[in-house]
Symmetry: C2
């Protein structure tokens, strides 16, 4: 059984993906998670505490589904691992849609809620470092700055494509195609 | 004197940039624009009408400030025009910050408000076509599909970098550097 804290965070991700960060009220979250508001305040102190913990939770979850391998699937090389990590963020499954919607909402909310910014900057940096590391596995001779910048561009592009997909401006299959081409281009540059 | 409709739209962009789309109430907008709510309903019918018109308004404004030339500035070539159009979206001036914040908010809101999606998709397409045209001036021999895809990537990256900047995850000067490198890379690809 998932512990109470995790259940609350799962419920918070659902509520944010359904109605946005601005729609998140502690009373509604309590109802969604089927716990008391007192328990929520006990675990997270205040609304900002909930948002920060939800940010961490959806990051961990994204890391899990982008690293998932089917037990029978053939082993992938470094390039395959990179492609999979990025392209699995563009999948029309309930989990990925919910996660991407909640991440995009937390990103957009941080423009108006400065108290989210530090956590969001840290989560962004960790994501960039993870992708830079994967790029470095494909091109071990590339410099650290070049790897970091390629990772910043790829992850920022992914955020841009993801919100276009979720807001109905870009079909998912085309978003994946654009992303795959960008990965090719960044790898070609790092090789040059 | 700006007409009343324009004054209302200027006020709407300010309110959205200050408190978000979700914070936009017609009463507050009336106060900000110093008009009656009846006049707002007369011009825009309903809240969605205001949001759609504001989307168009901030697009026109962005087109204006990204195409602005100082009277004394030297003429720019096709590449310079492309760079200027994209990089002038990453400027820390009150107008660009307000415009970019409002655009990002309308994008994020469309995930939750389906009635905004069609207008947003149309505005996105027009922006992509404009950038594809500028890319085509630099490389007149490139195919239409290649130009469109490069423009889709550059504009999606710009949205991703812009919201990172506005949410405090990326210094502006670094966002501009990443964008400039991406323009180089897409132009090199179109030349190849």
């Amino acid at each position: 059984m998932a512990d109470r804290r995790t259940m609350i965070l799962e419920a918070a991700a659902r509520v944010i993906a359904r109605r946005g960060v601005r729609g998140l009220r502690v009373e509604e979250l309590a109802e969604e998670a089927d716990v008391s508001t007192a328990l929520i305040y006990y675990h997270f102190k205040h609304r900002t505490g909930i948002l920060r913990a939800t940010l961490e939770f959806i990051n961990d979850r994204a890391e899990r589904y982008t690293r998932q391998r089917d037990p029978g699937a053939p082993a992938v090389d470094a390039r395959g691992e990179l492609e999979q990590t990025l392209l699995l963020e563009l999948q029309d499954t309930p989990e990925v849609r919910e996660n991407s919607t909640a991440w995009g909402e937390l990103r957009a909310s941080a423009v108006f809620e400065p108290e989210l910014r530090e956590d969001l900057a840290r989560a962004t940096l960790m994501w960039v470092q993870e992708v830079a590391e994967l790029l470095g596995k494909v091109h071990p001779m590339a410099g650290a700055a070049a790897l970091a910048q390629a990772a910043e561009r790829l992850t920022a592009l992914l955020e841009g494509l993801s919100v276009r997909w979720l807001s109905g401006s870009l079909p998912l299959v085309h978003a994946r195609h654009l992303m795959a081409e960008a990965i090719d281009a960044e790898l070609a540059r790092l090789a040059g």
